[in-house]
Symmetry: C2
Subunit: 526 residues, 2 copies
């Protein structure tokens, strides 16, 4: 060397040692510049191009005057632009907030206001829905760009303003990279803040959990605004320099075409989507040998259905993964050796997650005992935005509290029992609402049932059922109570039954038990 | 919940979200309590036992009065105790410094003094060598415990003093977990400080690089005091809940027995060790089908040797990994698809490492051009102990400088050329000393050659060769120079040749070129 080099600056040291989600793109572009990062309809974006776009959009965003950790909202169906925006925010030290299109427009606007988003990328093709969101006053919002728009306020126009030079901003490991709102089965949406470190750990540990290898091809039809797709699928595939085939929603024939055309090896679908593939007359005898791993989310499936899926994907492990937004999200994935023997479980802990069961006093329980699932690990959220009290509550006793009730067996597999708040405390006994719901739903004239605890002067909480009758059903309260008495311990039999035509539901279709509880607040004061 | 829970303490939040190397054991003990973590001769330590021992030793160390980030030295051949000490330090927030047994006793004591080690675990069976180290004054050292000692000052006695309760101390992601001394081919040993985050990232990214799966069984005969074994093999295997079969050095028949008995799937050996396995009359027709991955370190091997290794390990990928202590250490590993086509390369970048080539002015060079290998990634060391200036130097221009000269090809594979300092600048030309050394060693009467630049009034540096003749060889300077002129460009021919009986070497057998350079400092002033 000629002369003494300058002492490395703080930024130079940050660039060397940091954990930054945006650097995933740079590393893949180094090794696989020509490989497709995204296939999105007719568009194919290779890693070298993606790297340039990330630099351009990131520098363009900073040139708008955004400051470190400002929020950029994205309102779009799955598309390349959403991921360019995500990585550009990561590299620029901004926070990306993809909003949940399952929410109502006023709820979306509420989230964007809660986040104080300064920029919004909105998909022009969303039409009326986007218009309704933008009609709500959003005082913090300074800029709106249309994805798919070709004017001055289009995404591409902003991209053109940026520089392709490597964007090198100082970003800490635990700075926030994403803000996702949970759909809220028990309360209003909560904004979950997640760090670069958490997303990177999720990427690496899911890459291990997927048991696959480099250059994976995955199919992403479920929305990228859910962290299952964003963090458990997209990141681990991109960490390995693989390809993400994007779809705007699930359609069986299009899915089959993409499986064949791209040799898809990994995917996550909902059980209902497997049903559509398996029962489609044009597809049901098809096989897709490229698939190595067909995952499903949240709800176990019956063994017969698993046999059908294995027949369609003869080279695939068919496994369930579970988790929650607050843990980025995969906490547990079924091990391949459990795909048959423990198909009803939620899987076992991923590489960087500790899973345990806790009682209400904060004591960890031994294997086999039932209590609340609690987690530790660097994939944990950094907190809920603007909700310090709820954030603290969720971290009590030195563990993250999932709100799920389960036990862990001798192999570390998780057997889900109920949502924690669905444990009804009645007359000194704890009753899992799911057990009562299952009993009710076994009655042939019941389509669906939701069971909650309603305040009661004698019982504390009284088990109370809300029931939707099956089409043509005429069963009444007395007959249903008799059915319950025949199948349940006495203290588990509802004290009251209400018949309704439909349940209140979230944007993503989950029953809003907190709404039901609210409606039954004074039920026993009648 | 009854009442409001207390706000989580700083320690509770740390326990939830931190990255701590010691937590690797806890997670594996959750899932695989009965599986062997270590097999060490007749001793088998399962993960549940290891977890208890780590808690006990960690709490016992803290009870000695050690403070956060104090240093604990370990002087031992591969054994379970070394790893218990390592994880106990991790969990207690202490720094573990396993010393290099290839160094001379006074050098080991120098390292322990440089580290200000307060506790030393020493293997009693090292005998005279341990006695010589302990005879050196070590003012900071407060406690010494014998591994294998059965008295009050034995490792086991200290273990018995501790508590099995989970040891929960506050430890940061970037707190230091290990201190390893490089063997120093160009200067005195340098103490490399490595963080919890770096070791964990190395564990996860090497687990991916190994292309294997959970519950791996590995064989570790190379010393654990090198980070290749400690970080690139042991951690990724333990992250997956696998088993580490320990050996105190390599012996072909014992190795074969362990492969068979434990179904070893992964290992790293030096090329010389493969040679011993392949040429042993009792083993050379054997095969070991359990092996999935037979790695080798640092030096490429000829294709014929690779064929022989493949024949012995018919189900294994045979790949080279490279790196350095300062990067924890694996920066590059050959991809399986390159094991034949690019067997002469150092591999391609691991999942969290960026590798580039830089010129002397700090400019990154395009693919194909030769310069110094530089790295970025969270596996980077936190610095050299007590050497802030060298630490800063190593991080100049926003990259970690490897000191290796190479180019990167279109697939991202690294083609090593030379150590940076072995580029001799002579008469305006740069000459890689390795090229001149290879030419000299092609002469049948030359056993070994080391080429350096010696200061010269006309040439700046004059290419100067130090040569060990082959047994019975009589070649002289004039004949060797003629040989060089026949095979090298004129400016690459040495200006002088010195014949010696042996080279100065480090404890691990590397030629100490800095010693040779020192001896030739005034060669051209004669």
């Amino acid at each position: 060397m000629n002369g003494q080099p300058a002492t490395p600056t703080e930024l130079e040291i940050n660039l060397i040692e940091r954990v930054n989600v945006g650097d995933i793109v740079t590393r893949a572009a180094d090794l696989y510049p020509d490989r497709a990062a995204f296939v999105d309809g007719d568009r194919r974006t290779d890693y070298a191009t993606l790297e340039r776009q990330v630099n351009r959009l990131g520098s363009a965003l900073l040139s708008l005057g955004l400051k470190h950790q400002d929020v950029v909202g994205v309102m779009a169906r799955n598309c390349t632009e959403m991921m360019v925006a995500y990585f550009a925010c990561a590299r620029a030290g901004l926070i990306c907030a993809p909003v949940n299109l399952g929410l109502r427009p006023d709820e979306i606007a509420w989230c964007l206001n809660d986040a104080k988003a300064k920029v919004l990328f909105a998909e022009q093709a969303l039409g009326e829905m986007a218009t309704q969101v933008l009609a709500v006053e959003m005082p913090a919002l300074e800029h709106r760009f249309w994805i798919g728009g070709d004017g001055e306020d289009g995404f591409d126009a902003l991209l053109d303003r940026g520089s392709e030079a490597p964007l090198e901003a100082m970003v800490g490991d635990r700075d926030i990279v994403q803000l996702l709102y949970t759909s809220g089965t028990t309360a209003n949406p909560k904004g979950v803040l997640t760090s670069h470190l958490a997303v990177t750990m999720a990427g690496l540990s899911n890459a291990i959990a997927h048991h696959t290898g480099p250059g994976l091809v995955t199919y992403v039809a479920l929305p990228l605004f859910h962290c299952a797709m964003l963090n458990s699928i997209t990141m681990p595939v991109m960490v390995l320099g693989g390809t993400v085939v994007l779809a705007k929603g699930f359609e069986p024939h299009e899915a089959a075409r993409l499986f064949d055309e791209h040799g898809v090896q990994l995917m996550v679908l909902l059980p209902m989507m497997y049903g559509l593939l398996l029962t489609d007359p044009g597809l049901k005898s098809r096989t897709f040998p490229s698939m190595k791993r067909a995952m499903y989310a949240m709800a176990p499936m019956p063994e017969e259905r698993l046999h059908q899926i294995h027949a369609m994907f003869p080279n695939a492990d068919v496994v369930l993964g579970s988790g929650q937004t607050e843990f980025t999200p995969a906490t547990c994935v079924q091990r391949p050796e459990h795909q048959w023997s423990k198909s009803a479980t939620w899987g076992t802990a991923t590489a960087m997650t500790r899973v345990a069961v806790m009682d209400e006093e904060g004591r960890l329980l031994p294997r086999g005992e039932t209590g609340e699932l609690v987690y530790r690990g660097p994939q944990v959220m950094s907190g809920y935005l603007n909700q310090p009290e709820v954030s603290r509550q969720s971290l009590r006793h030195g563990w993250f509290h999932s709100g799920d009730v389960a036990h862990i067996d001798e192999d570390g597999a998780i057997w889900f029992k109920d949502r924690f708040k669905d444990v009804i405390k009645t007359g000194g006994e704890n009753v899992a609402s799911i057990e009562v719901e299952r009993c009710l739903m076994e009655h042939p004239e019941v389509a669906e049932a939701a069971v909650v605890g309603a305040p009661h002067p004698r019982w504390g909480e009284a088990i109370t059922a809300v029931v939707v009758r099956a089409p043509g059903g005429t069963v009444d309260e007395a007959a249903l109570l008799e059915h319950c008495r025949a199948h349940l311990a006495g203290f588990k039999v509802p004290k009251g039954i209400v018949f309704v035509d439909a349940f209140p539901r979230t944007g993503t279709g989950k029953i809003q038990k907190h709404v039901i509880r609210g409606e039954l607040e004074r039920f026993y004061e009648r």
